[in-house]
Symmetry: C2
Subunit: 458 residues, 2 copies
Amino acid sequence: VNAKKITGPSSGFPELLPELRRVEQQWLDTIRQSFEAYGFASIETAAVEEVATITAKGEDVDKEIYGLRRLREAAQDMQPSSLGLHFDLTVPLARYVSQHYNELNFPFKRYQIQKVWRGERPQEGRYREFTQCDIDVVDNNELALHFDAEMPRIVLKIFDRLGIDDLVTHINNRKIIQGYYLGLGITEPMPVIRCVDKLDKIGPDGVRQTLQTQLQMSDDIIDKCLQLAAIKTADSSFAAQVEGLGIHNEVLDAGIRELRFVMDSLANLRSGSVLANLAIARGLDYYTGTVFEGKFTTYPEFPTIFAGGRYDNLLGSYFNRKVPGVGISIGLTRMLLKLYKEGRIHPAEQCPTDVLLIHTPESSYAALVARAEALRDNGINVEIYHDPGKKTGQQIQYANRKGIRYALFTNTGSDEIKDLVSGTQLPIDIQAWQPDRTSSYQTRIVPSARQAGGKPAD
Amino acid sequence: VNAKKITGPSSGFPELLPELRRVEQQWLDTIRQSFEAYGFASIETAAVEEVATITAKGEDVDKEIYGLRRLREAAQDMQPSSLGLHFDLTVPLARYVSQHYNELNFPFKRYQIQKVWRGERPQEGRYREFTQCDIDVVDNNELALHFDAEMPRIVLKIFDRLGIDDLVTHINNRKIIQGYYLGLGITEPMPVIRCVDKLDKIGPDGVRQTLQTQLQMSDDIIDKCLQLAAIKTADSSFAAQVEGLGIHNEVLDAGIRELRFVMDSLANLRSGSVLANLAIARGLDYYTGTVFEGKFTTYPEFPTIFAGGRYDNLLGSYFNRKVPGVGISIGLTRMLLKLYKEGRIHPAEQCPTDVLLIHTPESSYAALVARAEALRDNGINVEIYHDPGKKTGQQIQYANRKGIRYALFTNTGSDEIKDLVSGTQLPIDIQAWQPDRTSSYQTRIVPSARQAGGKPAD
């Protein structure tokens, strides 16, 4: 494992070598298939948006947006950029839906797998260009709570299929926090929410101090806030614990009802994979109900891997309709590079080639091409070695270096295929032969338990 | 067909509705599978490069590059951008190979499917953000001519699989033009090459006038140049025609030998799909041998759909080695939107869903989820209708609107599936059932002949 290999044209713009890119492609395929298994349709929005559109939500990220100007124009005047690169895929979705409202059918279930850009200070887990995988559902007027419950199911299916066993989905509902705070007499809950959301980072004492000094809250009220935030249950039993705190409020009740529905719907998932965690709030102002946050249990200090929630009013801010939504965004680049750095991904192949056709001075190039095309027609990936002047041993060496498993010899009377893993060489029927793709050359993902046991498995 | 639907956040940044995006995804899958069938490995380079890197080749496109600055920094000072968005994928490949030279195995065969950005004036076929699909092979010191011959074979396979029958690959070799011009006594061939390359646009009289007025060339020499440019053959017979012009030069001979090898290697391809066209030069300075250009025969005025060639010295300009390359780039966005506008693409589905599970007040949601997961485990894409309050007819209407072919009824004693195309409803075994995906709902591509016959087929 060589973390140095993750370099790019400029700091914060990671690039992968072909063998790790193959893993990324397999992951992207799995994610796409999983999104489609639940009926989500793909869209892509332009990377370039009007700055006015993407700064409209007033988040911290505004300052980190990359503005764009053509070099030709920038050389002529010093106007500010009116175009910028998108920093997420939720705001562009809102703009897309408002623009194409009459051409879409609702509920509109879309997935979007694209690069986004943020001019953050590059550090572990934070990049300036990275790939996000988003699913969202938006609907007219009302959006069924079934979709909130479906989101953690979909992401868990993805991680199971990827072989990643140490990601947990923390789930909460903004209405619980807001209703509870309102019931406590806190009339402006948002600043308190943002502070308690940092519990993980600054601890209960840090939260207490901030609430005391910045918001002049009493110790009693702070205690009550911290009691709510301490509730974590693997099922719907959080509800009894909240009710035990003795606060009554209609919004709180609605939140408990919603989170209970979500947790009950997920009761049959793998044990420990979801957690009702009443400390989770997410920083973004636009969430109104369910909120999700996915973290590695093995690397508790590492940033969130996926996150999302319910936003009932975000799209309405782009046009005069009620279009509630719920979604989740997976930080693919961060997840891939972390597991690679930790030695849990062992890429094995530098190319998709199954078979290398050995090319000798006696070979007819046209005959090699015909054999290659016959194999390709059966879905097999084939290269013809390019230089008949090279010895067979050198051609095999090329296959070994790139992780190509099979070599085909065509000038031995019959077509013979050599398995470079087992060393066996046998005649084949070129019309019928299929490669074994479950070979030891395949990329392996090491589960967290083996990893935690000591050095990376080999 | 509604060309209006191709809009985006800003002029020149096209966006697709979900049904056309599905076609684009199918095309991208076909292109990727075809590239991989020939052993090409995927890489992605960062969209963001140092401006100094991407302007180093000194092409016209420089002025159209989008420079980037974080809004925060741009608000503080008026420095020029040191970062920019890539405008092609060849220059980034050169930078990537020079950066990772010691970690790659050669010949390095890579494909790259990514967005690129050019601040051109938006018009038909020209966009500011679009997707390119590139394959290139680069090698140390020498690069086998086999790879030049393989490029048109790969793109033709792609277009055949996409059902596009009216694209022709025009092939030439820069050495033929350069050697012939040198043989004519033209010591600086490049300005002449650039002028003759416009033959298609300005005609022989236009070329003659430009060569006379701007380069002070004699009529005799111009005649000889135009005679070479008029040679177009479907096979290697171009060689005899060139030799018949009576010009002798070593570089010319090498060019004829190379182009003959390429044309002979392609002799078994579909008739009319490749053409030795000695007028083709490509504007870019860095091509040194084979050049390719792909055009629609049905829309002769429409810009080039794919193009490429051999560049023996481009990578060497980034570091002190000889690393020749050859490649081709397909303009996917341009090709897709042109055929859509011409009524030759009929998208049919707004989502990947195969089956909609009908949800009634009597349904158990948990039982629906279990059935949906059983189908998904068999690779079937499934949605559970979200609102049990809606009548069955309304749920079926939702399926029809989105192009979902099947509806599953679970509360009729047994599981029954209704084919919404044929109208038949039958009991099924949920563990064994598979959808018919070759249905009339599928997207159709209309061949050029039917299109040329009159109005779009229906």
